[in-house]
């Protein structure tokens, strides 16, 4: 169960500095969790299952040659996306890196548009233009999906800056990986966020590795914890057991309230784990980590299992209900594959739309002249 402190055989000794014992019952008693309805609790469960089934289906489709490029699976980390977004309100926004399917589904994007995007179809959330790494749904407060490591970190500060500028009580969560913290632009963003009191929350999803590199090999002073880099900027930070949805919610909520009430940034480091390789191309991920390590996480710290146990203990879930939810998610994913498969590819001319607002909305700009410089077109 999830209550134990991280064992010494954890993948990353650097991060196993003593955390206070994570007591699920304590976090369950946190007001933000106590206020949860049964419906909400089940929705969290369902949504975590949906992420997993969506990605399992996507993986199968990839293996059948239905898509190209990268596919970075989120499986194992589901409680982070679901837990953090489940405490957000209508004026809050999120932005993340390329491992973005979980966040997309968490904010309510449909499996259909997400799967179609992977298939490169016109019905995809980005019309097939962005692909796996570049999902977007601004209407649901989801600003991508960004391929360059840490490239989203100042953008996240910018979203939060805009809220403050407009006098809107809200916040932006910007997710990044443990490897991303070594990019300079993240530090520039932290400095700006603190200096200017920007209501941004950086969530470091520490899954132990950046591709094949553990924190000890990429980050000086890993034993302090990665979130501790916030110290230099007088930003509040905390560490979170990512397998425990109650804990994720409780600690995210503290940061959200800090953003709302004090307009101050926060950094959360959420300990989590990815079961698959870095991406579909990372076939040899057992070179840098052991089977035992993977099994340890799957058996002891699986976010869906942990939440399932909690809800069973609380009497809101039983084995049959779990099966039902599983089955529904699987079918939803299957339907999404069918949808994606049957959708058309974008017409070739689509290559040249969505490049400029002024081109797509003639008459709304004072623009003339040539904007594209094709000597000839392939279509």
């Amino acid at each position: 169960m999830s209550t134990e402190t991280p064992e010494t055989h954890d993948f990353n000794k650097g991060r196993s500095r003593t955390l206070e014992k994570a007591d699920i019952f304590d976090y369950a008693k946190d007001p933000v969790n106590k206020a949860m309805t049964v419906e909400e609790k089940l929705k969290c469960f369902t949504d975590m299952v949906r992420i997993r089934k969506f990605e399992q289906a996507a993986l199968q489709s990839y293996q059948k040659g239905k898509m190209g490029g990268f596919l970075h699976l989120y499986i194992g980390q589901e409680a982070t996306a679901i837990g953090t977004t489940s405490v957000l309100g209508d004026n809050d926004h999120i932005i993340t890196a390329y491992r973005d399917h979980g966040h997309a589904l968490a904010v309510g994007m449909e499996m259909n548009e997400c799967m179609a995007e992977l298939f490169g179809k016109y019905t995809g959330c980005s019309k097939g233009k962005g692909g796996s790494m570049h999902y977007f749904d601004p209407e649901k407060g989801f600003w991508g999906g960004h391929g360059i490591v840490a490239g989203q970190t100042p953008l996240g500060a910018g979203l939060a800056f805009a809220l403050k500028y407009k006098g809107i009580k809200g916040c932006a969560i910007c997710y990044l990986g443990d490897g991303a913290i070594n990019q300079g632009v993240f530090h520039e963003s932290l400095n700006l966020a603190s200096l200017w009191d920007i209501p941004v929350i950086y969530v470091i999803e520490n899954n132990g590795y950046s591709m094949g590199t553990s924190q000890q090999r990429s980050s000086a002073f890993p034993e302090a914890g990665l979130a501790a880099r916030a110290n230099s900027y007088k930003i509040n930070f905390d560490t979170v057991h990512g397998e425990n949805l109650y804990e994720v919610r409780a600690k995210t909520n503290i940061a959200v309230q800090r953003a709302y009430e004090e307009c101050r940034p926060s950094v959360l480091e959420i300990f989590t784990y990815r079961y698959y390789g870095h991406s579909i191309a990372d076939a040899n991920h057992q070179r840098y980590r052991t089977k035992e390590e993977i099994r340890h996480y799957q058996e002891n710290k699986d976010p869906i299992n942990v939440w399932e146990q909690i809800l069973i203990e609380e009497g809101h879930l039983n084995v049959d209900k779990v099966k039902e939810i599983d089955k529904a998610a699987k079918e939803e994913a299957k339907a999404a594959i069918k949808f994606a498969d049957e959708s058309p590819f974008p017409p070739p001319q689509e290559m040249l739309s969505d490049v400029y607002h002024s081109v797509d909305n003639p008459g709304t700009h004072t623009n003339e002249g040539e904007i594209f410089f094709n000597d000839q077109l392939p279509f």
């Binding site: 995809g124 977007f136 991508g144 360059i148 953008l155 979203l159 500028y165 607002h357 410089f373």
Partner: protein, 329 residues
């Protein structure tokens, strides 16, 4: 119409747009309390306060990225680069994020940001500070690039740029800030992006330039008229992307001879693109190959008298025009 400086015209444009649209704000190093390193924003902080005129720490990637993110939610940041050379420390944010986000989101996200500042050599600040990256920036589909030469143009183009819903890189020149000229006072004086301006009509040869080189071309044209009775047509591109192909081709088809003048380094500079375009689309109208003057192909040298000739000057333009027209000097 008032006679004001390029700097003042720019400042007026900024002030008017700040006044007009509450989403417009200026951000950059020393733009507020210090009044701007080149005084473009002088007085704006006092007038509009901390919210609309924001001093940023030295972290260009951070605050450009922040501006891009803020623009997603409808703000219209105008970011000052103290020198445009400094955009290189923020290159990924400026060109990769700003140019791709609309596309990758299937049109769901807009990025109405203006990144502005001087991009010129000739001021003896050395190689690290004298870059002119308009060619590189215009290489990115999704970005717009504007390079005004006169006080009137800088005003009308800045106002259009701020109101534009796409990312605009607005490239000025420290050597132009003090120049004076007539500028319309109309608060809706907008010059369309992508519209070239024929700054001088002529029939013997077309000189094409942008930014400071427009003035160099005009100076050479006057002298050539006087010395050699040559009538140069001077086309001021004003905007690099969009580009006014029609005006360029029309002029070339009239004069049948072209000299491109730019401060860019030659390899893959703006002139290369325009040269290709002209020979491709007006091949049969050309009486001579397209000629081109750029900065000398080396990093910017410090030594003041040497840097003076490293960038295009009127003397060189005249020499080259005579060369093309086969006139003995």
């Amino acid at each position: 119409m008032a006679i004001i400086t390029y700097r003042q015209a720019l400042k007026d444009a900024l002030a008017e747009e700040i006044e007009r649209d509450e989403n417009v704000f200026i951000m950059g190093e020393e733009v507020a309390q210090y009044n701007g390193a080149y005084k473009v924003t002088e007085g704006l902080w006092k007038r509009f306060g901390d919210k609309r005129v924001v001093d940023a720490p030295i972290s260009e990637a951070g605050f450009i990225g922040l501006g891009i993110g803020a623009s997603f939610l409808g703000l219209r940041p105008v970011i000052e680069m103290m020198f445009f050379s400094f955009v290189y420390v923020a290159w990924d944010q400026a060109v990769n994020n700003a140019s791709t986000v609309r596309y990758m989101s299937g049109g769901k996200v807009n990025c109405p940001i203006v990144i502005r500042g001087p991009a010129n050599g000739g001021t003896n600040v050395g190689a690290t500070h004298s870059h002119t990256p308009e060619n590189m920036i215009a290489n990115f589909p999704g970005l717009k690039v504007v390079c005004p030469a006169t006080p009137a143009d800088v005003k009308g183009l800045m106002k259009s740029s701020i109101r534009d819903n796409d990312p605009v890189f607005f490239m000025e020149s420290t050597l132009l800030y003090g120049n004076e000229g007539e500028v319309p006072e109309d608060e809706d004086y907008l010059i369309p992006l992508g519209k070239a301006d024929i700054k001088r009509e002529g029939s013997d040869i077309t000189l094409i330039a942008h930014g400071g080189c427009v003035l160099t071309a005009l100076k050479a044209a006057e002298k050539l008229k006087k010395d050699n009775n040559v009538d140069c047509e001077v086309v001021d591109l004003r905007s690099i992307r969009p580009l006014d192909k029609a005006t360029i081709l029309k002029s070339v088809k009239k004069t049948n001879r072209v000299l491109l003048i730019e401060e860019n380094k030659p390899f893959c500079g703006i002139g290369a693109q325009i040269s290709h375009m002209i020979q491709r689309e007006a091949f049969d109208y050309l009486d001579a190959p397209v000629h081109r003057i750029s900065s000398v192909d080396s990093p910017a040298i410090y030594s003041p008298p040497i840097e003076k000739i490293q960038v295009p000057d009127a003397r060189l333009v005249m020499r080259e025009v005579r060369n093309i027209l086969q006139i003995k000097a």
